[in-house]
C-alpha cells in the first residue's frame, strides 16, 4: 500500500475505534463560523460556550452515572472564585495555570463531597448536593472581605493567553476563541472517557445498579471518580467564566445556575454527549431572542417549550431526533 493509502487506513481505523462520525466536526465548524460571521455576538457566544462546558460536566455525572444533583454550581463557583481570588489577592493572573488551579480546587471539593454524599440516592442525594452548594455560597458571602460578597469582585485583569492574546474587554474576541479551545480539549477528554471501559461501566451503573453490585463492580469508587472528574471540569468552566468576564460573584454558586444547567441538559438530552450543546444553545438563544422581543413573556415561552419537550420526547431534543430517525428508518427495514 502507498503511504497515502496507509495514512487513510490509519485515519479510518482511528475514527472507527473512537466511533467518530462525520457530523461530529459540525459543532466546531459552527463555533468557528460564529467567530467570523457574527462578530458582535461574541459576548453572548462566550457565555454560551462556558455554559456548554458546564453542562457537559454535568452530563458525565447525570447522563452517564445517573447521579441527579442540584448542586453542581458548587464546583463551577469554586473554580470561578479560585481564579478570582488568586488574581485579586495573590497576583496570580496567568490564565492557563489559573484554570489548572480551578480544576484542582473544584476536583478536591468534588472528591471530598462525593465520598460523603454518594452513599445516598434519590431525593436525599439531591437535597444533600443542594445543601453543600448553598453552604459554599453562604461561606463566600460571609468571607466577603476576600470574595467581594454579593456585589462580587470587580476589576480583575488577566495576562494574555499564552502570552500572545490579550483579553478583549469590549468585543470578547480572544475570550471566545480561548473558551472554544478549552471546550474542545475538555470535550475530547470526556469523549474518550465515555467510550472507555470505565465509561461503559458507568452506563452499567446507571442502567442497573443491582446487577453491577452483583457482578462485583466497584460501584462507589467509580461514582466518586466520575464525580471528581466532573467537578474538575465544572471548575474549569467556572474559571473560564471569571477570566472571560473579569468578574466573579455569588451568582456563580447559586441555585439559579445549578437548576438552569440541569434544565438545559435535560432539554437537550442527557447521556448523549451532544445534549449539552443542543440544550444550552436552544435554551440560551431562545431566552436571548425572546427576552429582546417580549421581556416579560420569555419565561412563558421557555416554560411551554419545556413542558412540550417533556411530554412528547423521551429524552430531550436529541431524544426527539432519535425517535424521528428511527421512524424514518423503520419503513425501510421491512
Amino acid at each position: 500500500m502507498s503511504a497515502r493509502e496507509l495514512g487513510l487506513a490509519a485515519a479510518r481505523a482511528l475514527a472507527d475505534r473512537h466511533r467518530l462520525k462525520w457530523w461530529e466536526a459540525l459543532p466546531w465548524l459552527a463555533g468557528l463560523a460564529v467567530f467570523f460571521f457574527l462578530p458582535s455576538y461574541l459576548a453572548l457566544s462566550t457565555q454560551l460556550v462556558i455554559v456548554i462546558l458546564f453542562a457537559l460536566s454535568l452530563d458525565l455525572v447525570l447522563g452517564y452515572a445517573g447521579i441527579v444533583t442540584l448542586g453542581h454550581a458548587a464546583f463551577f463557583g469554586a473554580g470561578a472564585y479560585t481564579v478570582g481570588m488568586l488574581a485579586a489577592h495573590a497576583g496570580w493572573n496567568e490564565p492557563l495555570s489559573g484554570l489548572a488551579a480551578a480544576a484542582l480546587v473544584a476536583g478536591a471539593i468534588g472528591l471530598a463531597s462525593g465520598l460523603v454524599l454518594l452513599r445516598t440516592q434519590g431525593l436525599t442525594l439531591l437535597m444533600l448536593t443542594l445543601c453543600t452548594m448553598t453552604l459554599l455560597e453562604e461561606s463566600a458571602n460571609m468571607g466577603h472581605e476576600y470574595t467581594g460578597g454579593f456585589d462580587g469582585m470587580p476589576g480583575l485583569s488577566f495576562q494574555p493567553i499564552l502570552g500572545l492574546f490579550p483579553f478583549d474587554v469590549l468585543y470578547f474576541r480572544s475570550q471566545y476563541l480561548y473558551a472554544l479551545a478549552v471546550l474542545f480539549l475538555c470535550f475530547v477528554v470526556v469523549r474518550i472517557l465515555v467510550y472507555s471501559p470505565f465509561g461503559q461501566s458507568l452506563t452499567g451503573i446507571r442502567e442497573n445498579l443491582l446487577r453491577m453490585h452483583a457482578v462485583g463492580a466497584p460501584v462507589r469508587a467509580r461514582l466518586v471518580i466520575v464525580y471528581t472528574i466532573s467537578a474538575a471540569l465544572a471548575g474549569v468552566a467556572g474559571g473560564l467564566f471569571t477570566q472571560a468576564n473579569a468578574y466573579v460573584n455569588l451568582a456563580t454558586l447559586g441555585l439559579d445556575r445549578a437548576a438552569g444547567v440541569l434544565i438545559m441538559l435535560i432539554l437537550g438530552g442527557y447521556g448523549k454527549l451532544y445534549g449539552a450543546f443542543v440544550g444550552a444553545i436552544a435554551y440560551m438563544v431562545l431566552e436571548h431572542v425572546l427576552a429582546k422581543a417580549y421581556p416579560t413573556a420569555w419565561q412563558l415561552g421557555i416554560g411551554l417549550l419545556l413542558v412540550a419537550v417533556a411530554l412528547y420526547a423521551r429524552n430531550g431534543i436529541l431524544g426527539i431526533a432519535d425517535a424521528l430517525r428511527r421512524r424514518l428508518r423503520a419503513p425501510l427495514a421491512r
Partner: protein, 404 residues
C-alpha cells in the same frame, strides 16, 4: 456680460441655505436602557421606566432639536453576567451613544469595564454602592449612595432625635454594610453608641424578621436603625416591628427611605405610623415640580399609583441626558458629555435642587427627615427636617474603598 462672478452671490446663498438645512436636521441620540425588566427587580424597573417616560412627556422641549431613541434591554437579575451581555450588545450591536438604567450595584460593577473600554457615558439611575463612581471616569450617578441617607440619619439620630444608643439591623450584602457603616460613622461622631449590629439575611428573599427584631428589642436601644432593600423587605420590617410591640417598648424605628418606598407605603397600614426616615425623595414632598409630577403620574398610570424614589431617579436621569444632548447639539462625544455632566445643576427636580459633583461625578442633593403620620385616612410623610446639599460622605471622608 453675465459672468460666473455675478452668479457667485447666488451660489453662495444657495450653499449657505443648504448648510443650514443640513444642520437643522434633528440628529438622533441613541440611549441604551438596561434594567431588570423580568425577575425580582421587575417592579423597580417599571418605576424607573415610568419616571423616564414622565420626564419626556412633561418636558418635551428639554431635548432641544434632538430626537431621542431609546433601546431597552433586560438585565434579568442582579447576577452581573446577563447585564454584561446586555450592555455589551447595546454598545456593539445597537451602537448607543449613552448607557443608563442599572438598578443593582452588582450589575453596575460588572458593566463598568465595558463602558470604560468603549468610552460610553453611563448614567446610573439607582445602584447605590458608594465607590461605583470610582470605577470609571465614564460613570456619573443621579440616584444616591447608601451614605447620603445613612450618614445624614446617623447625624440626625444623635442631634435631632436625641438618641444615645442604637441597634442597627441590616440585610447582609454590600448596600446593607454600607448603610451600617455610614450610620455608625456619623452617629458615633455625634456622641452616640451603636450597641449591636444584626445582619438580617440576604437580599434575595424576605426572611422572617422576628428573631432579629426580638434580639434588637431585648437590647433596649433608643433607636433601631434598619436597612433592607426597598420593596417587600420593607413591608416585612414594618409588620414585624408592630407585631413585636417595639414602639410601645419605646424603641423608635428609623432608617433610610428604602424602608418606606412610596408604592408599598399604603400596604403597610397603621403599623407604619411613627416611622422616621431620611431620604432624598418621597411622594409627599411639597414643591411645585413634585406636585406637577405626582398629578401627571396618577393621571397616566392610575389613581392608586405613585412615583417613588426610583421613579424620580429615572426622571432626573432623563433630565441629565436631555442636558447632555442639548449642550452637545445632539452629537455625543464621550469626553464632552462627561464634562457637561460634571457640575450640572437641575433646580427643577421633584426632589429639590440637585447637582452632579464635578470631582466625584456623584449626586449632591437634599435629604429630608420625615415622619409617617396618618392624614385623611392614608399614610403621609411629614417632613420634619431638611439637610441641604448633602454629598456622598464615603468619598468625602475617603472611607475604605471610596478612597481609591
Amino acid at each position: 456680460m453675465m459672468t460666473t462672478r455675478s452668479r457667485l452671490p447666488q451660489v453662495l446663498a444657495a450653499g449657505v441655505l443648504a448648510a443650514f438645512a443640513v444642520g437643522a436636521q434633528a440628529q438622533t441620540v441613541k440611549v441604551g436602557v438596561k434594567l431588570t425588566y423580568t425577575g425580582i427587580g421587575a417592579e423597580f424597573a417599571q418605576q424607573i421606566d415610568r419616571g423616564m417616560q414622565m420626564f419626556m412627556k412633561l418636558n418635551p422641549e428639554a431635548f432641544g432639536s434632538c430626537k431621542i431613541e431609546i433601546v431597552k434591554r433586560d438585565g434579568k437579575n442582579p447576577g452581573g453576567a446577563d447585564s454584561k451581555i446586555a450592555v455589551q450588545e447595546l454598545i456593539t450591536q445597537d451602537k448607543v451613544d449613552l448607557v443608563t438604567g442599572i438598578i443593582y450595584s452588582g450589575n453596575a460593577i460588572a458593566t463598568a469595564p465595558l463602558v470604560d473600554a468603549a468610552k460610553k457615558p453611563m448614567i446610573i439611575m439607582n445602584a447605590g454602592t458608594a465607590w461605583i463612581t470610582n470605577l470609571s471616569p465614564m460613570i456619573a450617578r443621579v440616584s444616591f449612595s447608601m451614605w447620603h441617607a445613612g450618614h445624614a440619619m446617623g447625624d440626625a439620630a444623635a442631634k435631632t432625635l436625641k438618641a444615645k444608643t442604637a441597634v442597627v439591623g441590616y440585610s447582609d450584602f454590600p448596600p446593607g454594610k454600607d448603610s451600617l457603616e455610614a450610620f455608625k460613622t456619623a452617629f458615633e461622631a455625634a456622641g452616640g453608641k451603636v450597641i449591636d449590629e444584626i445582619p438580617m439575611g440576604g437580599p434575595a428573599q424576605v426572611p422572617d424578621f422576628t428573631p432579629f427584631f426580638q434580639r434588637a428589642k431585648d437590647k433596649k436601644p433608643d433607636v433601631f436603625f434598619v436597612f433592607v432593600p426597598a420593596g417587600d423587605h420593607a413591608v416585612g420590617v414594618v409588620k414585624t416591628y408592630a407585631a413585636l410591640g417595639m414602639r410601645q417598648a419605646g424603641i423608635k424605628l428609623i432608617g433610610p427611605g428604602d424602608i418606606t418606598q412610596d408604592f408599598k407605603l399604603q400596604a403597610m397600614g397603621k403599623d407604619a405610623v411613627g416611622l422616621i426616615t431620611m431620604h432624598h425623595y418621597h411622594a409627599d414632598l411639597d414643591n411645585p415640580a413634585n406636585k406637577r409630577l405626582v398629578a401627571a403620574w396618577r393621571k397616566e398610570y392610575g389613581a392608586d399609583t405613585t412615583p417613588d424614589f426610583m421613579g424620580i431617579q429615572g426622571y432626573d436621569g432623563m433630565a441629565a441626558i436631555a442636558h447632555v444632548a442639548r449642550t452637545l447639539n445632539c452629537k455625543i462625544d464621550p469626553d464632552k458629555a462627561m464634562a457637561a455632566l460634571k457640575g450640572w445643576k437641575f433646580a427643577d427636580s421633584p426632589r429639590g435642587p440637585i447637582m452632579i459633583d464635578p470631582v466625584t461625578r456623584d449626586v449632591v442633593m437634599n435629604e429630608y427627615l420625615s415622619e409617617l403620620v396618618m392624614k385623611d385616612g392614608r399614610l403621609y410623610q411629614k417632613t420634619i427636617g431638611t439637610i441641604q446639599s448633602v454629598k456622598d460622605m464615603c468619598k468625602e471622608l475617603k472611607v475604605g474603598r471610596c478612597g481609591k
